[in-house]
């Protein structure tokens, strides 16, 4: 629901909109306006695939539940096997994903993928009750992440259930796509294995 629509509904219910200036809202709107040079959370999320269907007001409300975390190059964000509780968006910088990463002997293990600005990771940690991280994520450069954690999702569902459900639906779609991709990869690998066995 847009901010204007929310206000119109308030007026139609007979409630008087607040006549006091909401500085935080003004600041947010200024940052989100084309006149502002600073990249705001609003501009950022308009380019993030799972959030770009949200209205301006929904993005404004969504950003209230996020935590900004800054990481130095080569700083570990989380390790493979750690209990996972959060979902991260790459706001600036980039991260590398590794399997079998060893921190003690600085063996980087197997490099899997590099995620850059507007990409996200860790959605399983937000949805599963006892999640274990399946890979190690390391900051590739000076990186800013926006994280959402289980308590934030619970609070969002409590306060803004429609927004929470919309976010959950988008996250579930991402996971469904990944599952589909994984299934296709397994099928293709099995096929290749069969072919190799027949040749051998």
């Amino acid at each position: 629901m847009s901010y204007e629509k929310e206000m119109m509904e308030k007026i139609s219910r007979g409630e008087t909109p607040e006549d006091r200036l909401d500085i935080n809202l003004l600041k947010y709107m200024w940052d989100a306006s084309p006149l502002s040079f600073k990249e705001s959370y609003h501009d950022f999320f308009k380019k993030v695939s799972i959030i770009n269907s949200f209205s301006d007001n929904e993005i404004r409300l969504f950003t209230k539940f996020l935590h900004r975390r800054e990481f130095l190059p080569n700083e570990v964000i989380f390790k493979q096997g750690d209990s996972g509780h959060g979902f991260y968006f790459v706001f600036s910088g980039a991260v590398n994903i590794f399997a079998n990463y060893q921190i003690q002997n600085e063996d980087q293990g197997d490099f899997i993928l590099r995620l850059e600005k507007y990409q996200y990771f860790g959605e399983m940690g937000l949805l599963e009750e006892f999640n274990r991280r399946s890979a190690t994520i390391v900051a590739a450069e000076n990186t800013v992440l926006l994280g959402m954690f289980k308590p934030d999702l619970d609070q969002m569902l409590e306060i803004y259930p429609v927004l929470g459900a919309k976010f959950l639906k988008e996250t579930a779609l991402v996971m469904a796509n990944r599952m589909g991709q994984l299934t296709r990869e397994i099928v293709s690998l099995k096929k290749r294995l069969k072919e190799a066995e027949m040749k051998g």
């Binding site: 607040e18 006091r20 750690d82 209990s83 994280g147 609070q155």
Partner: protein, 342 residues
Amino acid sequence: MKKNQKIKLYLFFSFLIATVVFGILFPRLTLPFGFAYIVYLIAKPFTLRLTTGNRKQRIIYSALLTIASCFIIFPLVASLYNMGGDFSIISERLPEVQKILQDKFFAFKVSVFERFGIRINMDPVTLVMTRLELMGAQFLEEIPTYISSVLEWILLVPLFLYFFFRESNRFSSWIMESIPNPIFEKTYVLFSQFNTKFGEYIMAKFIEATILGTLVTIGLLIIGFPYPFILGFVAGITNILPYIGPLIGFIPAFFIAILANDPKVTMLSMIMVYTLANLIDMVLVFPLLVSKIVNLHPIVVVVSIIIGSQLGGIVGMIIIIPFIAFFKILFREVYQDLSVHL
């Protein structure tokens, strides 16, 4: 881990230790602060619904605080005002009570001697009464101190509560920012779980106490036992302590039944009322309301209560349970992480 990350981590833990030390050194500040925090945790889910999307938060918080203060302050002042008078009446009546108890004990000694030929030489009644008299005198002496600390709490608790309602988001985001990256995710989730469990536990215990208090009051009213409202209130309050609470709540009724020379007041019916109320609590109320929140083994609960009473008296006995439930989650998290990484 890089050097500046290590420094951040050391600074964070030093800050935590310093906060704990400050809390121990200044209990007059820490206790009302902790109490206000508990009230805030209990009230948080309701205020969240009331204030969502509403810009008149200051008015709502002020109204809530005024209502809460009326409910808390009035009974406190009224009970403290009356308590002095009640204690003087009790002190005046103590010799009478002592005589009745000594007569009963003498009759018991005689019957033991007649039946078994054993002579009982001790005099526990005088011992207990002297101790009670001493405690009463001590309490009367300390009433001004209690009143001054109650007044201090009346001033501090609403102040802290208002601070929690108004500034908790800003304050918690400041704390969150200061948590170093390597421990952020776990600390934040565990802290949130602790807050939720603690608030839910205290709220559930108060609902349980109210239900039990009401059941005892109704039961005592039906059998025509004296002081049903006060005894129901005592049973409810003491029920907040798990396992030993119901026993403590039963003691006043037991003494009233012994002392009353009224044929209507029967010990058996009174015991039945207390047993029935506690059975309903154990079978229905506790499993539905409380046990799911803490999920602890009964032996762990009893040991925790003993430790809690040693550390912080009655308050310690009440609040130790959610702390142990939290440590259980913390231990599980740390243990699972160690088993994965070692």
